[in-house]
């Protein structure tokens, strides 16, 4: 079955394919974003649970009853999604889960900035000494969202665990 030539594709699909062709960018983004989320998850596990609850409560825009649950679950979600993206295992679902987290964090930072809640340190990386203001977090998270696009377009690269699965086209050509 002949593969569709790029010139036959509609413009948005051509752009998507071009973005996915940036192999090196996808790999770097996968390692960077996955590594960041993994670090964020572990840094929260290094803190006592009550400290993480207090860090989340400082945002004041989240319902207080939810904060213990978020504090309990968030580190694990970060670790699982970060690891999966870092190693390229189920890359697309991992990238989508990370994109969802980044979107949620960005909305939270926006709400905090609009409400004028005074936060000196977002606590995104526990107390590893990496302090960020809500504005810095918002900029960083939006940038990471944009950087995830080539990863989502590519879906897998040869350095990913996903590449071990192979696909029919590759098998047929062999």
């Amino acid at each position: 079955m002949p593969s569709s030539k790029p010139s036959n594709l509609p413009p948005h699909q051509r752009l998507w394919r071009r973005l996915g062709a940036l192999l090196w960018l996808g790999v770097v983004v996968r390692l960077l974003v996955g590594g960041l989320f993994l670090t964020a998850g572990f840094s929260k596990l290094l803190l006592p649970h009550a400290e993480v609850v207090a860090l989340i409560q400082q945002y004041t825009v989240l319902p207080e009853r939810l904060t213990p649950w978020i504090a309990a679950g968030l580190p694990w979600i970060e670790i699982v999604s970060g690891t999966a993206l870092l190693i390229g295992f189920y890359t697309t679902p991992a990238a989508l889960l990370i994109a969802a987290q980044l979107s949620a964090f960005s909305l939270l930072m926006l709400a905090v900035l609009v409400k004028g809640v005074p936060i000196e340190d977002c606590g995104c990386f526990g107390h590893l000494g990496w302090r960020e203001t809500p504005l810095q977090v918002l900029i960083r998270d939006v940038m990471m969202l944009v950087l995830l696009i080539p990863v989502l377009a590519r879906q897998r690269d040869v350095f990913a665990v996903d590449a071990w699965g192979g696909n029919e086209r590759v098998e047929n050509r062999a």
């Binding site: 803190l47 006592p48 649970h49 009550a50 400290e51 609850v53 207090a54 409560q57 107390h127």
Partner: protein, 142 residues
């Protein structure tokens, strides 16, 4: 915490550890400990919280704190001498190191037996935690 202590009289002991976060509170804490040498630590402690708005943003709170000392009929000369000598600093540093060893990062942090509670809590939440710990302690003694 005061109400909780009254409610559970005889069953709860409160131990205070200063965990200084800035130079202003460093001076205030030393003043409180020096007031303790004159037998009025808790009175000074409560006054610092009650009048917090009047001194916490001052770069040099000592003159204002001496006014508090005057109100409590403390020897302000001795108090000033005590604070300026820095005698209490060793105690503060030891308590801060102890807090850091327990991974205390922000204040207030309470350890109700081994239950960590971070940030200002409502009386209801404190009472609930104390009650739970009392029940646990009773189970262990049975």
């Amino acid at each position: 915490m005061e109400q909780a202590l009254q409610r559970f009289e005889g069953q709860v002991q409160l131990v205070y550890y200063p965990f200084v976060l800035n130079p202003t509170s460093d001076v205030a804490t030393q003043a409180a400990l020096c007031a303790g040498e004159q037998g009025k630590f808790w009175e000074f402690h409560h006054m610092l919280y009650a009048r917090q708005a009047t001194w916490r943003l001052l770069s040099d709170p000592l003159p204002r704190l001496m006014e508090f000392a005057n109100d409590l009929q403390l020897d302000t000369t001795a108090l000033t001498r005590c604070v300026k000598s820095g005698r209490m600093r060793q105690l503060l540093e030891a308590d801060k190191a102890y807090g850091r060893s327990l991974q205390v990062q922000s204040t207030p942090t309470l350890f109700i037996n081994s239950q960590r509670v971070v940030g200002a809590q409502s009386e209801a939440d404190l009472v609930r935690t104390i009650r739970r710990e009392l029940a646990r302690a009773q189970q262990q003694t049975q």
